[in-house]
Structures are given as C-alpha cells and as structure tokens.
Symmetry: C2
Subunit: 249 residues, 2 copies
C-alpha cells in the first residue's frame, strides 16, 4: 500500500470562537480536531468506532503530546495529517502533523490509544483485530517530537477545584478529554499567555471522571517555564496528568 | 436578485466532542455554528467583518432566540440556512433554519445585530452603509418562531458565581458569546437534561465582561419549565439575560 493512502489529510479554518484573546487557535480546539482526524482516518480505513461498536469495542485515548512552533491565526486555513506509527498488542501509536496555510509543518502530535470492550472494559488484542488489518496502515512518516514523558507531581495542596457540570460531560457520561485541557489551561493567568505561548503540552489520561465529581488540580512549577499538573477526583484517585511547557513568543 | 442567492446554506456534522451526554449537539456548539454562518453569509456578500474592518466597523450580536424540535445526533449531518429578514437604521434581523439529515426543518433561530465603530464604539447607520447594499439581501423566507422577548429577573441572590478565565476570552478581550450560553446551561442539573430537552433559548447581550471579572448568575423559575437568568459582573452591571424553556422529551 502506498504511504499516500496511509496518511489522512483534513482541512480546517480557525473559526472566531475557536481562537483565544491573542487571535490564535486554542489548544483545546486543536485537540478536538486531532481526535476527530483520528476518527476520520480510522473510519475511512475500516477500524473506526462505528465498525468496532458492532463488536462493542471502542478506542480509548491514553496519551497525547503536542509540540508547536505556531498556531493558526483567526480565519486562517490549516490542515492536519495523521497516520499510524506503530501497533502493539494493547496499544497503538498515532501521530499528527499540523500544516499551516503556506504548507509548512508548524507542529506535531503523538497519541497512544488502547481498544477496550465496552462489555468487559478489558483491552482488545490489536494484533489480531480484523485479522491484523490495522497493521497494513503502519507508516514511517517522521514525527520529530519526543514521546509523552512520565509526569510526577509532588504538590499536595490543590491550586483550584471544580465540580464537573453538564457541559463537561460526553456521550459516554465521562468528562470529555478536551475539557480537561481547557480546565488545565485556565490554571494559568492571562499574563502568561500574553508574554508566552505553549511550546509543548502533554496529557496522560488515567481514569474517567463523571458528572458531579469534584476535580482537584495540583500543580508543580518545575522551572524553565515547565509546569506539571495532576487532576484528582473527590480528593483521591488520579484522573489525568499534564505537562505544560511555555516559551517566549 | 433571486432568493437563492439571498439564503446561505452551510453543511455540518455533529462531532463527538460537540454532543452532550444524551448524544445530541449542544446548544453552545449550535450557537457557534449559527454565528459562523452569519459570518460566512455576510462575507460572501461583501458586508462581513473583514470588509468592515477596513473602516473599523464590526458586527455586534444583540439578541439571539433559538427554537428546536430536535437536535442532530452524534455523527449526523445537518445544515444551517441563514438570511437577512430586515434592515433598520441601527439593527438588522438575521434568521436561521436548522435542517436535519433528511432535509426536514427541525429548528429556527432569530438574531439581532448592530454595527459599531471600533474607534468610537458608536453604532453605524446600516441604511447608508456600502450605499445600502445590505438591503439587496432582504428576504421573505418564513421563520415561524417568536421574536426575542423582554426578560426580567427578580431574584437578588446569585445561584452561582465564577471568575472569567483564559478559555472564556475571545480575540476582542471579551467573554465570548458562546461561553455565556455554556455557563447558563451549567446552572441546570443533569436530571433536567435527562428528562427534558431545551425547546427555546433566548439571549440578550447587554454589555461586555472581561478576564478576571466575577460573573454572578441570578435565576427565576417562572413556572411551566421556563427559567429566566441574568448575569451581572462584579456585583453590579448586567452583562446578559437569558430565557430557557424546557419541554418533556
């Protein structure tokens, strides 16, 4: 199979309500587009949610790392490419490139997914699924950013807490993956985004949270414009961890 | 000019992170699409933001009323039509229809816009703008829902308060119009959305709020599944008012 069909390319435009006060696309919206592209790419190739749902399987996002030189400005067109880098028994690595209106690659992302049975919540064996059909799409397109790292938080006092509300919840009854990104970015003051921009953002999704859960946000300033964040629910279990690295504009 | 060119039609699909826990498109996302369609329609006809910005004018949304029989379900395609109903000296009425995947009209919306100078903050005269060119697009397509009503709140104790954060702020430095919708919908418990759906939603945008403002939400239960909401900033000035009408599913 040619690499041409292995890589999916999808076009977007930076809509007015999808940019922040600096006029640049928000990271939450970019994350939403990345996850949609993952869905389009998998569906077009026969291993999307709809095909899997027949067998009661679903894709679950485990890790996400995004690294950016620049975000699209309001009304600018851009596109996202995505491809499968690796398939293991329990996980698959899917990568992305962000391409600006002039065709330059201005960012990359890495994601790690598992597939679970919605009946048993147990992971599926990706190597045997659909007779291993997903492996036909493995592609050696370069993705020159680091893999998601291990994030460790030492703070024991939350910087803020909130209760998960109606707008946070997705069709599965969980706080949606994008909302965590937005809540984490809201931990930083406006001045931070005025002087700096996010160069790298990582998320490790650990467990689900639900409507009415109290989400507690813990943050370590790791120095060098690097911040580690942990979200726990109801004073206990870890929901997700994130690393946010800023850089001067 | 034929009505064909007066009405703009735009296609969408209900994305996974744009539906709520019932699998239906959220009202905030629908609102975002409506405002985008208004932008596309105006731009294509020479009276969009970009054309106006040269003269330092911008469109300001004053009122929005949405009435729905049904919302698109996750992954369903739908389209939105929009047209100009009336042009007055200081305001213009723009209407919308929501069309489901089978071509049925399952909802309508009405909006009222003013145009202001970004230098003086004073309103422009729409009847003389671009030699009155906008009036060429007035269209008598029916919009069988009531106009935005006058909303009056009597409660003096806020049901909740929040501080406007990074994710709330748009490119103009204001809390964005869609975020108010989301914050207002978050006033209602999950059980409400489980048993009922929103039949009609109105917003009157009164003044802007900014990063760091405390937003106080006041709510009257007006009976018959009807709720009136007022948002004030910093304990004083009214920012917006909303009426939310639920109905049994």
């Amino acid at each position: 199979m040619s690499d041409n069909n292995k890589i999916g390319t999808y076009k977007f435009v930076a809509e007015p309500f999808h940019v922040d006060f600096t006029g640049r696309l928000t990271l939450g919206v970019l994350g939403n587009h990345l996850l949609n592209c993952a869905g389009f790419h998998a569906t077009d190739r026969g291993f999307g949610i709809a095909a899997l749902n027949e067998d009661n399987y679903t894709w679950v996002l485990s890790r996400l790392a995004i690294e950016l030189d620049e975000m699209p400005y309001q009304y600018e067109e851009f596109s996202i490419q995505t491809w499968v880098e690796n398939v293991y028994r329990l996980f698959t690595d899917r990568n992305f490139a962000l391409i600006d209106k002039e065709g330059r690659k201005t960012g990359y992302a890495r994601s790690v997914w598992a597939m679970i049975s919605m009946n048993t919540r147990k992971p599926a064996d990706l190597l045997t699924l659909h007779d291993g059909g997903i492996m036909d799409y493995i592609c050696d397109e370069p993705c020159p950013i680091g893999k998601p790292s291990r994030i460790k938080i030492t703070s024991t006092e939350p910087v803020t807490s909130l209760i998960a509300k109606y707008s946070d919840i997705d069709i599965n009854g969980h706080v949606n993956s994008i909302r965590y990104i937005e809540h984490i970015l809201d931990l930083f003051p406006m001045e931070m985004y005025r002087e700096k921009r996010i160069r790298r953002f990582e998320m490790a999704y650990v467990t689900e949270s639900h409507y009415g859960d109290e989400l507690n946000f813990f943050m370590d300033n790791a120095g060098n414009d690097m911040y580690d964040v942990e979200v726990k629910k109801n004073g206990g279990e870890v929901v997700c961890r994130s690393k946010v690295i800023f850089t001067k504009k």
